[in-house]
Symmetry: C2
Amino acid sequence: MAQVIADRRDVDFVLHEQLKVEELSKHKKYAEFSKKTIDMIITEARNLAIKEILPTQKAGDEEGCKFEDGKVMVPESFHRAYKLFREGEWVAMMEDPEWGGQGMPVTVSLAASDYFNGANYAFMMYPGLTLGAGSLVNEFGTEKQKELFLRKMYSGEWGGTMLLTEPEAGSDVGALTTSAVKNDDGTYSITGNKIFISSGEHDLVENIIHPVLARIEGAPAGTKGISLFIVPKIWVNDDGSLGESNDAVCTGIEEKMGIHGNSTCSLMLGGKGKCRGFLLGEENKGMRAMFHMMNEARLLVGMQGFACATSSYLNALNYARERVQGKNLLMQLSDPNAPSVPIIEHPDVRRQLLTMKTYVEGMRSLLYYVGLCQDKANLSDNPEDRLRYEGLVEVLTPIAKGYVTDKSFEICSHGIQVYGGYGYIREFPQEQLLRDCRITMIYEGTNGIQAMDLLGRKLRMNGGKPVMDLIEEGGKIIAAAREAHGLSDLADRVEKAVEKLSEVGIHMGKTSMSFKALNAFAFAHPFMEVCGDVVMAWMLLWRATVAAPKLEKLVGATDFWERREEVEKNKNAAFYEGQLKSAEFFIHNVLPTTLGKMDVILETNSAAVDIPDVSFGG
Amino acid sequence: MAQVIADRRDVDFVLHEQLKVEELSKHKKYAEFSKKTIDMIITEARNLAIKEILPTQKAGDEEGCKFEDGKVMVPESFHRAYKLFREGEWVAMMEDPEWGGQGMPVTVSLAASDYFNGANYAFMMYPGLTLGAGSLVNEFGTEKQKELFLRKMYSGEWGGTMLLTEPEAGSDVGALTTSAVKNDDGTYSITGNKIFISSGEHDLVENIIHPVLARIEGAPAGTKGISLFIVPKIWVNDDGSLGESNDAVCTGIEEKMGIHGNSTCSLMLGGKGKCRGFLLGEENKGMRAMFHMMNEARLLVGMQGFACATSSYLNALNYARERVQGKNLLMQLSDPNAPSVPIIEHPDVRRQLLTMKTYVEGMRSLLYYVGLCQDKANLSDNPEDRLRYEGLVEVLTPIAKGYVTDKSFEICSHGIQVYGGYGYIREFPQEQLLRDCRITMIYEGTNGIQAMDLLGRKLRMNGGKPVMDLIEEGGKIIAAAREAHGLSDLADRVEKAVEKLSEVGIHMGKTSMSFKALNAFAFAHPFMEVCGDVVMAWMLLWRATVAAPKLEKLVGATDFWERREEVEKNKNAAFYEGQLKSAEFFIHNVLPTTLGKMDVILETNSAAVDIPDVSFGG
């Protein structure tokens, strides 16, 4: 059974039928991204992903990275895949062509990423981190710094990383102690120990550019005294040639639960007092720079988790269609000798598959939609539109990272369960997908941090305007759904959930600013979850609203039992029918539980805050 | 930071204060199991678990089992642990002393198992499977068979397994094709391939006794034609001496996600036509024998999953108390330079810890309670009592396996999250606990099978009497809670949930017998979940009802804020306070969501059944 990744029909549906991404080509900047061009890009990405990258997934897991004497060797098969990835010019899909990027819309690059990450996201973290580091140079670097680094990075000739975490400074970045002292030549001497550095050292590239957060001597404590530096692994001379090794030494790699193909490194900077860096941007403005990159990075982490989920779903689906085991429950009643059937016929398997399908579809729409908002913000000519779209990105990002990775992990667990015992063994991909997926809930800000970001910052941002805008966008879909045949009941249910969520939002906003703030923050994560649930419902209703009239056109009948036979004969009709069923399933089976969760939040019971520490036991 | 397993205070609370297990000693059979004896047993088990077995957990994971030329080598450290475990006579704690068992109450043995499994359940699967196989011989064997096998097995000198699964017969046991042909000497020649055999081959013992499900030539198809055989790895002669190797050859072991310390074997039986077995019990009654063992085995799997959860909780708790990171949210508002605090002060961490605590406590009570019902059934002098307690065991078993392992997996995931990035690396125990835990949702009947068992068999068993009995037992606790200070609101809420669950049960019972049966079974798993939630609420309310008067006695005040200071100074008071907070948290924060899930079940939306297969996509 061939392993699969993203469902092309669904990718196309979101890009073209739901989000109408080709409309971006009306704008000069994206004029060349016609539907045809976009389809070609996705086809190329898909081919490369399936033929060349996917085969490295299992090999990367089994082989892992090797650490020896300061050097890290990636899994053997990654070298060829990386070469092809570079040759295809995929490293900097959405970046400025002036510096070697492809200038793609974010939305389109996400669709390509859907395939690449689904194929092997541990591998993708090498070019992925390079891109993130490159973006920092692009945004905050001097022209000279861009000249020195950008093309080499965007082409994948050099790698990039991000050095934030220290043993005592994880979620609390402000606690970091890595120090920087200015030298006479304008460079800085950097000293400190950094850990948990993805792609921190490896043998795919000749040089690695490390953006490093450090505190300049005498700078204020906390986040206000943090600056950002570029520390190349090998010094880059003024003329772009490589100089000496720069005293940034890999001291080890972590043994992890998953993503074994990616090296998670500890780096000692300035162990011999010879680590130099360039200041990137302004002194003490390092955190601002990080925040600038954060939305993009968090969206990509959401995509990583999601990529595991979509793979896991399609694998489970194929397995359920092929695995013959047990009898059809109804047939068995009338005939004890009824033949065994594929397990997709068993109600409990169908429940799990449809659960997986609905979340995967809703999450794909959400991720691409955030990309589209980013594109629209980038293209907007008037500040009001720009702010509106940027606001939508801000408020949706913690959901696209936190909620999506939470749910992706659950989906991966269903994906194991559908396989039964085979889901637990390494011969099949499901258990690796779950192991790989698990870290996405932690890095780039734990999902607890995402939830606090949503409650503490995004909810009250600009007086709550982004949240209001989001509700308005959702309202448009609800109104459209009401016009479509057979969707008015679903529309009513979603509207009811949105109304209740508004109530919850107001309550949480107030409570988080009151003397009960701790209490409110104990519900930050549940709040993120109900926000995510409602966004899922919105996305799935949107999909159904697009699908319903198309289905009607294809098969005529508006009643499911009348059209069913036709639907089974027509691939497109079957897809649209699947959209209606996804929306029905989620809105009828998940959303009522969400309302129960909202009741819980509205009550804001204080047990978790009140319980004396000693009463936790142990 | 020392790794921990079960919380002794909590174990003692359940045994003595909640379940009053020493009352069993009023009966002659358990006369020697006074409170003092029980405490000594638990102390010994705990010591052995922590000092000798726990150190093998990580080593077992890293080293795994090795397969070579038909032989399996367990991790090196397992040999010493096994020797000590045998010497302590722990293999057959609750079995008949006549055959070398210790004759303990099930409840007490579960408390010991809590420690042993928490220390390393992959290791415990060697004696665990031996015990299961021994129980089959004890229940269905002839006197001669008992003479030949039982003492050797109960002492751990020989091992035992269970050979059910074949590549095409997993959940559908009836599809198995392993065959048995009667020989002239009364033995049977067995031919077939079995897979997924835990402890199927290893070097801890000199002989392994395999109970094997096979079909006698000419027997009916399906489960009605299955018989049970004893197939020793090395033939056992009539005088008990060992004969030749018995053509039951290990052909390989699985590479798995977790429980690397336990060998999951494939066995080829009769590859050379020389595999012989003894019939165990009657011809074609093999499935009945399996069902007999099933409750016990499923309860133990619940315990395995749970053991991972309780370890994960205590590790997370200790970590949260020691790990300093970030500032107190409120202090930070008034003082930006406030010192960093242990993460247990952060509301989101508290929410996760209290979530873990409540489930762990509720599940411990549930598991031990099922053990107590089993003990009471075993001791009952009148058939009515016996049936009542057996019925409670029957109806609670799918929950103790299915619900408990589902939730234990979630708890283990929280246990990773509390550690942040450190939760994902192998240096810390959390990721292994999650990997080990995951299989408990699959083996011994997937949790989907458990849910079908609950809905399809247990709900309607004896006209629904066991379910009614369960509701009656819960009702007693609700009534008692209403009498306790400060618990009447909690009691009302639980009662409301029980009432709604009754409605859901009636609805599901009817629907599962109607033409909408498929639809009902698509909700079997959600139904098991809400049953489990309500049982948790009941168990936690029970605990609070026991704790409330004791707390009042210790500190006087019934108001939390008045007694708080006293509580923090008194360890016992702190524990009882923790019980009140657990009940409050679960009943206020989880149960309302459960009511939402019940609404979903009552609606029984048909999308999962209706959706055409082709509309799943892919």
